[in-house]
Symmetry: C2
Subunit: 218 residues, 2 copies
Amino acid sequence: MRKLKESRRPEIIDAALAVAADRGLDALSMRAVAQRVGVTPMALYGYFRTKDELLEAVVGRLLEEIPPAPPGLGWREMLQHLAYGLRSVAGRYPAVLPVLLTRPAVSPGAIRVVDVVYRALLDAGVPHGQVARLERMFSTLAIGHILSEMSGRFGAGTLDPPARRAQLSPESLPGHHTLGAHLDQPVDWDDEFTANLRDMCDLAAALAAADTNPQATH
Amino acid sequence: MRKLKESRRPEIIDAALAVAADRGLDALSMRAVAQRVGVTPMALYGYFRTKDELLEAVVGRLLEEIPPAPPGLGWREMLQHLAYGLRSVAGRYPAVLPVLLTRPAVSPGAIRVVDVVYRALLDAGVPHGQVARLERMFSTLAIGHILSEMSGRFGAGTLDPPARRAQLSPESLPGHHTLGAHLDQPVDWDDEFTANLRDMCDLAAALAAADTNPQATH
DNA sequence: TCACCCCAGTATACGGTGTAGACCAGTCTA
DNA sequence: TAGACTGGTCTACACCGTATACTGGGGTGA
């Protein structure tokens, strides 16, 4: 089977998304997808050469599911709209997130998303030479945050924070000691995501200002 | 086996790193690690309750390999030292990187690293209530950048940028069109990493300034 | 000296995974 | 009507994480 079939690709991608959505990360197996489609596992290999390839297609579809921004938004709102859209889409299909951070965005849907970010940053007045970098920074942070949050990196691991800190002598962790109770308060990840987003926008604004007003830099 | 043994943990972690380093992350199986140690797979479960727990320990060891910062550094230099240190360690064991972004940092080594960031941000004057968030933002960005860079997300994928853009009608990608040649220039990832780091430090400084000088916000 | 227990490590097995390779029933075409 | 193509099946392989049951040897108390 040199050339891949096209006909049922969308159907398969849908099935994969459905499986990821309601049976979770680890359950996204070729067998599970195949069963959902109503077909033998090996039949999928007529449409995708490997599971990885299927996942890439899933990511493409996922980005296309981000609703397009309503017209007339300011650049901050556009970036917010995109980030929240990505977050909610990712929340529905957490299993494919790692793929998002390790594969180049080559599908048409992905390029469309990148273009929205470019436009927003240009609107913000970020110098042309820095737009691409800032887009990478923005997407890295957004995806990284969502991934960390959903995979549990921001969680407590096997120990809760106080017990964890007790492992080490307090005076060897002056930072933790100074912050004290701040560290034990529960975090609202929605708020944190919003705050990070605001900071990134401020950063873009600062870069824009530094460009039109060079002596203000540093 | 309620309580875990300690004696050979370091040896096992070393073996895991070695396996990941020279056979890739996919080959990092309990069986492979066990073989490296010269023991039966099930013997590992006397030292780690699950594979996940082993991976957490591996992350810890990796962070411990970051050389400690020389004393007397300013907060920007401390953050830089840490970020570059992480980047070079990650370069030695690229396969373990995804683990860094998906497991909580609970080992003593990891906590030490987090503490260094806390101290730097406190030195910078970031308000106590925002230090933890900024640390997460900082680490997410640093790890995310390194991971993206090393896994090829920042690369061109199967198409080079011009060909990729040609897939879509140019007028549907105004951002790409406006940026034009800027997008085709090769990127120096060292420079980009440094620039992102600088921006993050500026962000911290801005938050600190907004705190001591509230009317300057927004 | 002997019996006991503890403990590190082993052996086996279960239910899962991705996927290679051979095969097969229809349908379309020469 | 024979042959090729197409879409799918079936079987099998090598591997995964890990639960359960076991074993051989050293240390200790009687």
